[in-house]
């Protein structure tokens, strides 16, 4: 993975010093709350319900065992012994006192980590496919260009005060695992028939209050122009994006207002003088950064193993884990393994300091000391020998990191919600826990099959509820927490936004609602048909009827809004 050189190290250290000075000036009253706010946000620091929340970047999903150990130590010594992995390759602490943050950032800098631009109205942490470099369907390894984009966007002098936050995602495989179409800029790297790397560029996607899928602004942008082209897009947005209303300030609103043709015309006009200029990425720079992402020293192995096969045939629990949590690898005899952070009774994405230390040990023992964070809020050991899977399973199980539910109903994507977040309208973790409690029969979960259940505690949509097969959105009505349900959303190559099934529900009703949706699916499904495909085939009406009964047929049912 990428390692800092003297330049990176000096810049991150300077940032820590800068933030320490800013914190002191704020404490001394030289900076008002309003003036300090964007400065702390650009260092990942939110004021939350109980304490500040500190968001650390895990750039394009890559993290080392050594880094994870430091994150564990910080959780233990500065927080309450746990941390939370988000849907955007970030790790969040919830209980670090404000005055301690500069020291925590200094400690992170020592292991080449930072919280730079993890919040605020600037270019955020770049997200990508958690299987970059190892997926059999990968066409282009996204990590070198993602790192080049990370550096370009870091302290960009023109784009630190954009109208609103700006998220870039990149994938380079046949299957999009980075949901690029719901980002401000989405990049799909692919190759032309000569093997040269091109980018399909989407712009103006985003979830939140007004969920919109991105539109294609460039079908075939040569990789060397990525930075200059994005500079053109973001300059047009910086100058023309709305600043009168934060809910209308994302680039998606500008693209919709202008239309993609007119927006493209403006970007092309801006780009005309930038194209082939100094921002053009050189072969030497791509080669330099790519050298950090060479394959680890894989052993030459058969793609089968007698011990593994024997365990597979004799142990149903192991077989299930392999089926759900073990993923194909481009190298024979290797697999990627998802360590599930979705154990029953636990907030999705949460991990304790002890678990982090243990996972670091696992990464060193089984995966060349590297891991990935996934946008599904799990951790991935990217390079595990097939023959070691049985012992890894046993160890992961002992750590409660082996729920065989990856991709299933209880692999819930969930934001911190009203338990922690100041923005939330409703709690989300108790809903997730109640659903995990209700559906703890693995046979049933496996029978239901692939199902993305996403929960957001407010319309900012950190839980990506719009693209869940079942999406749950917490809403506030007269100071009470209610939950609106959508179905039919999906991520991937055929990303779609879910449809609202009707009036919202009380928290206590949510497990029953999910039960009814699943019963309807089971009664209507065709062989091998996933929940979401049944919804697409039959439409949402049968599901409405099962959930609302006769009320569904009444006009404009409005009981709870």
């Amino acid at each position: 993975m990428y390692r800092y050189d003297d330049y990176d190290r000096a810049l991150v250290k300077a940032r820590v010093d800068q933030f320490r000075d800013q914190t002191l000036r704020w404490q001394a009253g030289e900076l008002t709350e309003e003036e300090f706010r964007p400065l702390r946000l650009q260092n990942g620091l939110y004021m939350q319900r109980h304490a500040p929340m500190l968001r650390i970047a895990v750039p394009y999903a890559m993290i080392s065992a050594a880094q994870l150990r430091v994150l564990a130590a910080i959780a233990r010594e500065e927080d309450k012994g746990y941390a939370h992995f988000t849907t955007r390759h970030n790790l969040q602490y919830n209980w670090i006192p404000m005055a301690r943050v500069p020291d925590v950032l200094a400690r992170l800098a020592e292991v080449e980590m930072h919280a730079i631009q993890t919040s605020g109205n600037c270019i955020r942490n770049i997200t990508s496919d958690q299987f970059s470099g190892i997926a059999p369907d990968e066409v282009v390894d996204t990590r070198p260009l993602a790192e080049i984009i990370r550096q370009w966007s870091t302290f960009h002098p023109e784009f630190a005060f954009l109208p609103r936050k700006f998220k870039i995602a990149v994938h380079g495989a046949e299957r999009d695992r980075a949901v690029v179409q719901v980002h401000d800029i989405g990049l799909h790297l692919y190759r032309d028939n000569k093997g040269d790397v091109l980018a399909r560029v989407w712009v103006g996607g985003g979830l939140g209050r007004t969920p919109i899928l991105g539109e294609i602004i460039h079908e075939a942008l040569p990789w060397r122009h990525l930075l200059s082209y994005m500079e053109a897009i973001i300059r047009v947005y910086n100058l023309e994006g709305r600043r009168d209303n934060p809910y209308k300030a994302r680039i998606k609103i500008l693209v919709k207002a202008l239309g993609i043709e007119e927006f493209r015309r403006k970007v092309d006009a801006e780009w005309a003088s930038l194209k082939d200029g100094p921002a053009t990425i050189t072969d030497a720079e791509l080669a330099r950064v790519s050298a950090y992402f060479t394959a680890p020293p894989y052993a030459t192995l058969a793609d089968s193993d007698a011990g593994y096969e024997a365990r597979l045939n004799s142990d149903k629990a192991f077989a299930r884990w392999v089926q759900q949590n073990v993923h194909a690898h481009r190298v024979p005899g290797y697999r990627a393994v998802t360590l599930s952070l979705k154990a029953k009774g636990q907030a999705p994405g949460d991990i304790t300091d002890t678990q982090m230390d243990a996972v670091a040990d696992l990464a060193e023992a089984y995966s060349f000391g590297e891991l990935r964070s996934s946008h599904e809020q799990n951790l991935v050991l990217s390079d595990v020998e097939l023959r070691k899977l049985p012992e890894l399973f046993d160890k992961a199980k002992a750590l409660k990191l082996a729920s065989s539910t990856v991709g299933l109903l209880t692999d819930i994507i969930c934001c911190p919600g009203g338990d922690f977040c100041d923005l939330a309208n409703a709690k989300s973790i108790p809903i997730a826990k109640a659903i995990m409690e209700r559906f703890d029969d693995l046979d049933y979960l496996h029978d239901i099959g692939e199902l993305d259940l996403n929960i957001s505690g407010c319309m900012n949509a950190c839980g990506h509820h719009h693209v869940g097969h079942i999406g749950v959105l917490g809403v506030d009505k007269n100071d009470e927490e209610w939950y609106q349900v959508t179905i039919g959303g999906r991520q991937g190559n055929d990303t779609r936004l879910g449809k609202v099934i009707g009036p919202s529900f009380a928290a206590a009703d949510m497990p029953d609602v999910v039960t009814k949706l699943l019963e309807t699916y089971v009664s209507l499904r065709e062989p091998e048909e996933r929940f979401v495909d049944t919804v697409v085939r039959v439409g949402i009406d049968p599901f409405k009827t099962s959930v609302y009964g006769d009320k569904a047929n009444k006009k404009k049912e409005n009981a709870n809004g």
Binding site: Y4, D17, Q18, Q151, W152, H156, E158, F159
Partner: protein, 179 residues
């Protein structure tokens, strides 16, 4: 008399900024004696009389101004300013970048308005060379915040070359203490 930062040094400065009342007629606005930065529409409306006051009249831009029209008159002013109505409004950075790079403005470019110390590095990078700080900030204090970073990754007006075109990073020590 106020103090500003110009090319990194504290200077005394007599320029005043003329703000139009809402709905005021730019043609009827009086521009008193002295050095004034006037809104571009006041300049357009009173060009004949104002251009006679050589060295005394500059303009300040707001985001709505047409930079092509502005660029046609660069030679008339000793100074162009860009207003930051609020420090979180980042349009001024891109306006400055365009003036310097698309329109090749080479004269003095001043940031005015809600100009705070933690923006100065960015402002200097995109092409400002003079900074009229928010009145609550002493220019001497601001001086110590002009270069919070020892280097830059990306190009901008100050140096169009990104780090990868300026430095041989293969020679920079790789990897550090990972503890």
């Amino acid at each position: 008399m106020a103090e500003i930062l110009k090319n990194g040094q504290v200077h005394s400065d007599n320029w005043q900024v003329l703000h139009l009342e809402a709905d005021a007629d730019p043609a009827a606005q009086t521009v008193a004696a002295g050095q004034w930065l006037v809104p571009f529409n006041v300049w357009l409306a009173q060009r004949d009389s104002l251009s006679a006051r050589a060295g005394e009249i500059g303009i300040w831009l707001s985001p709505a101004d047409d930079l092509n029209a502005v660029a046609a008159e660069f030679g008339a002013w000793p100074l162009v300013a860009i207003d930051f109505p609020k420090f979180t409004d980042g349009r001024g950075y891109s306006i400055a970048w365009r003036l310097r790079n698309h329109h090749k403005y080479t004269g003095e470019l001043r940031a005015i308005g809600n100009v705070l110390v933690d923006q100065l590095f960015f402002m200097l990078r995109v092409g400002f060379d003079s900074l009229a700080l928010d009145p609550k900030i002493a220019p001497a204090t601001a001086q110590s915040h002009l270069t919070p970073f020892p280097d830059t990754y990306q190009g901008s007006t100050d140096n169009p070359d990104p780090l990868f075109r300026r430095a041989d990073r293969d020679d920079a020590t790789r990897g550090g203490a990972r503890s």
